[in-house]
Symmetry: C2
Subunit: 239 residues, 2 copies
């Protein structure tokens, strides 16, 4: 199966010329060592010319194939940062990681763009943790619009004393998504003593209470049946 004979005679001749009998061959099944003999100029018959040509085109094709593969590898090397001195396997491993990571972040991002139409959604997550202890968080709540929603949210956000760095309102049909980005910094550049997880869970709980208020008032939960089209700009209901 794994038995074959191959070789380019040029090197062999060089070795032979130097009197260096390095050209040994291993029979891996029997563990025997064998010295490849010098060239035998024996005629092989009328097919010799064709065999030469076939062998030559074969090795050339194989060289082209290797060049093709290595060219793609080089391209990948330039695409992945700091992979200049990696060997082939390490480069491919790095590419695997990059692809996984990029795919994950891409799906994560598109998911953060998404406004679920049939289920309410609360997301509270850490989006960056810095070495100095400062963290950046994102909290979002997506639900059906109702008249008191924004004032309720404002009240909740204010009561939590979050260090807001960005807030966002999106609308899609009659649904609204509010997103807040905040840090654990407090005035003066100090880091909030509260542990991140505690902060996040209190935000989660506060958002839940906003959603619960909707459920508690059925007149709001039937709101979508009206299929009212709202938008920050084609309706003044939000403002």
């Amino acid at each position: 199966m794994n038995c074959q004979i191959s070789g380019n005679l040029g090197e062999f001749c060089e070795n032979e010329a130097k009197g260096v009998p390095q050209s040994l061959v291993l029979d891996s099944e029997k563990g025997e060592l064998v010295k490849a003999s010098g060239r035998v100029e024996k005629k092989v018959g009328k097919s010799e010319g064709k065999t030469i040509a076939a062998l030559k085109s074969h090795s050339e094709a194989e060289r082209r194939r290797r060049q093709r593969i290595n060219a793609h590898l080089t391209t990948l090397r330039n695409l992945v940062p700091s992979s200049n001195k990696m060997d082939k396997a390490a480069l491919l491993a790095e590419v695997v990681c990059q692809v996984k990571q990029l795919k994950e972040s891409a799906s994560h991002v598109s998911e953060s763009f998404f406004i679920p139409l049939d289920s309410d959604d609360i997301r509270v997550e850490t989006i960056a943790e810095n070495a100095d202890g400062t963290c950046c968080y994102r909290a979002s709540i997506c639900c059906e619009y109702r008249p008191d929603l924004l004032s309720d949210l404002r009240q909740v956000i204010n009561s939590l004393h979050l260090n807001l760095v960005k807030s966002e309102i999106s609308t899609l049909g009659s649904r609204v998504k509010n997103e807040f980005v905040f840090t654990n910094m407090i005035e003066g550049g100090h880091v909030n003593i509260e542990h991140g997880e505690i902060l996040l869970s209190s935000v989660r709980q506060a958002f839940s209470s906003v959603l619960d208020k909707v459920s508690a008032f059925p007149e709001y939960s039937t709101y979508p049946n009206k299929r009212q089209r709202i938008s920050c700009f084609d309706s003044s209901s939000l403002f």
Copy 2:
């Protein structure tokens, strides 16, 4: 340079036993065909055992290296869709495309998240073109907040009669970014006769007029100097 002798004698012995003199060797420099001779059991000296061991460990190491590389290739094959029957080069080419595309979309997305702090920014672009002629567009305007900004924008959006599917307000410090996603559909499911590019350029022009209005009233352009902190929720200035 490219001259070498290699081979596993097992195969050679099989061929020899079958009387098939296929084991030919090509000297690619001279174009000569040579038949590899049968095994020569000549003693090579006291180093024969070591040479056997070296050759064996070498080929085994090489096999492990190949396995490592191919394992990563298999992983990549599972990571990129519909690459089951691609050969190595095509797979790598596809991976190159995927990585480029993912990196581009990732940077594109993070750029769309970005709120420029020192320059006003208008972006109008197509985000999807469907086979049925319907298109999905995104238009965004990012600038310093000023009291009339939202009503100006609302007026502009209304006058364009866009089929809005999503609108978004983000704030970062005293800067505001408004984003609108709209389609070329009109009531009844028909596609707007207007060509997409005309639609987009009129949106771009309308947004520019909103920005121009800021420049025309210097009291607004000095607004940032106050470093006023606004947010949808820690200030009522937006609503």
